[in-house]
């Protein structure tokens, strides 16, 4: 990624804010101690503080369902957002589910090669970058970056999946219970997920308590099980949940696995088209049914 993309970004945001086309732009800023952190820019001069590099892992779309963006969009204003291809898919999901109006968001798409190894806090390259089809973000109101200069990261995005599929039932159960035994129910995964926008999560429900709240194995398993079902066919694989987990659980594995199965079975891919209906509210007569007696 060239640094003139960063310069173009700063110019563009300065211009958008100066002309009042947007009231706020969600972007990335430098984090003290290294890396990036979200930066909200309101005034044209703030644009100088924006950065764009191969460490810009966070998915800023999650802020669209929170204040101050909510208030701005409700009042008829527009919010700009610096978005990679994976981030745009989250915006598409929010539009499909009526959380955000397309016209209230100004998508500043950045052409992206992928996050560098270590750039998202984990050692390697995020697996989402290894299977990315969205180096040039779709649905961009403004597009910055050179499409032709994209050099995608190489690797097997499905390595973990294959390992798990190769296990026996017993081994898989041991794998997941061992993994979830670390979970401390901090719910950082839920808070970080751009598609987890419910104000009161089912996890908080006590009457009835479908998900045991304590961080016992039972409670952890129930939480991740239901979360996977709620994200099946909606998860866009941005890996924010994995990045956020303080105890290093690759939480995204479950929902991404299910989303792949949804695509195979129903031809539905989340984050593709804002006009599409989410897969779980419709059904077709010829949906697969060989598992049914």
């Amino acid at each position: 990624m060239a640094s003139d993309a960063e310069a173009q970004l700063r110019e563009k945001v300065k211009d958008l804010l100066a002309r009042g086309k947007v009231k706020l732009v969600l972007g990335y800023g430098k984090r003290s101690g290294g890396g990036v952190r979200p930066l909200f820019t309101k005034l044209p001069d703030d644009a100088e503080r924006l950065v764009w590099n191969d460490q810009c892992a966070p998915n800023l779309a999650g802020y669209l369902t929170r204040e101050p963006c909510l208030g701005i969009m409700h009042g008829g204003g527009r919010v700009g957002i610096v978005a990679k291809g994976c981030d745009v898919r989250a915006i598409v999901g929010l539009v499909q589910e009526k959380q955000v109006k397309r016209e209230a968001v100004h998508v500043i798409g950045l052409v992206c090669d992928g996050i560098a190894a270590g750039g998202s806090g984990a050692a390697g390259v995020p697996s989402k970058c290894l299977e990315c089809e969205w180096h040039t973000p779709p649905m961009a109101d403004d597009l910055i970056g050179d499409k032709a200069a994209v050099a995608p990261r190489a690797g097997d995005a499905l390595a973990d999946d294959k390992r798990i599929e190769g296990m026996t039932d017993e081994e898989r159960w041991q794998f997941w219970t061992a993994l979830f035994s670390r979970c401390i129910k901090c719910y950082a995964c839920r808070q970080a997920c751009p598609l987890c926008y419910c104000k009161e999560c089912i996890t908080e429900k006590s009457r009835p308590q479908w998900i045991a709240k304590s961080s016992t194995i039972r409670g952890n398993l129930a939480y991740h099980f239901i979360r996977a079902m709620h994200l099946a066919g909606r998860c866009i694989g941005c890996e924010e949940c994995r990045r956020a987990c303080p105890v290093g659980i690759p939480v995204d594995l479950l929902s991404r696995f299910l989303t792949r199965r949804v695509e195979e079975a129903f031809g539905y891919k989340p984050g593709r088209d804002p006009a599409e209906e989410p897969f779980f509210v419709t059904s077709k007569e010829n949906d697969p049914d060989d598992f049914i007696r």
Binding site: D169, R218, L258, A265, F280, F291, R293
Partner: protein
């Protein structure tokens, strides 16, 4: 002597599968006694959380009965559910729970014999796979101790 038997929880839709089970009764078809039925208005009412909770509370297999596609009393509840259940089976398999423990069947109000056969088949599957040890081992304080009942006259 205590007898341990497989535990099957079945969610049956009021208009088709529950009625089919009633018909098995009216025609006195005998089948295994290991299933417990929870009535719902439509198979579309069945949430994956029910199946999870059933496994957590000791079920070795769960069966959902619905109307044949096109026959749903509520137009298409069974079709919506069909999509969810396919995803749920994948999740169970991925997590290491044999997906055969979760069965979905279309059983109409006229299919009493099919219901009896289904119960027997699912009981056999549960026996072949054995008790669902995984959940039982983590159920902790929720598993109630085994207790005996006394039949009157004994």
């Amino acid at each position: 002597m205590a007898v341990t038997r497989p535990r099957i929880v079945a969610f049956l839709c009021n208009w088709c599968s529950y009625a089919g089970a009633d018909l098995a009764g009216t025609t006195r078809i005998k089948y295994r006694a290991d299933v417990r039925v929870i009535r719902v208005p439509c198979s579309g009412r069945v949430d994956p959380a029910f199946i999870l909770k059933a496994f957590e509370t000791g079920a070795d297999a769960v069966l959902v009965g619905g109307c044949h596609p096109g026959d749903c009393h509520y137009v298409r509840g069974n079709l919506n559910a069909r999509r969810r259940f396919l995803v749920l089976r994948h999740l169970l398999r991925y997590m290491g729970i044999e997906e055969e423990r979760f069965q979905v069947a279309w059983c109409s109000a006229a299919e009493g014999a099919k219901w009896a056969r289904l119960v027997n088949e699912v009981c056999e599957i549960a026996e072949k796979l054995g008790p669902l040890k995984g959940f039982k081992s983590i159920a902790g304080e929720l598993a109630t101790p085994e207790k005996e009942i006394t039949l009157s006259g004994e």
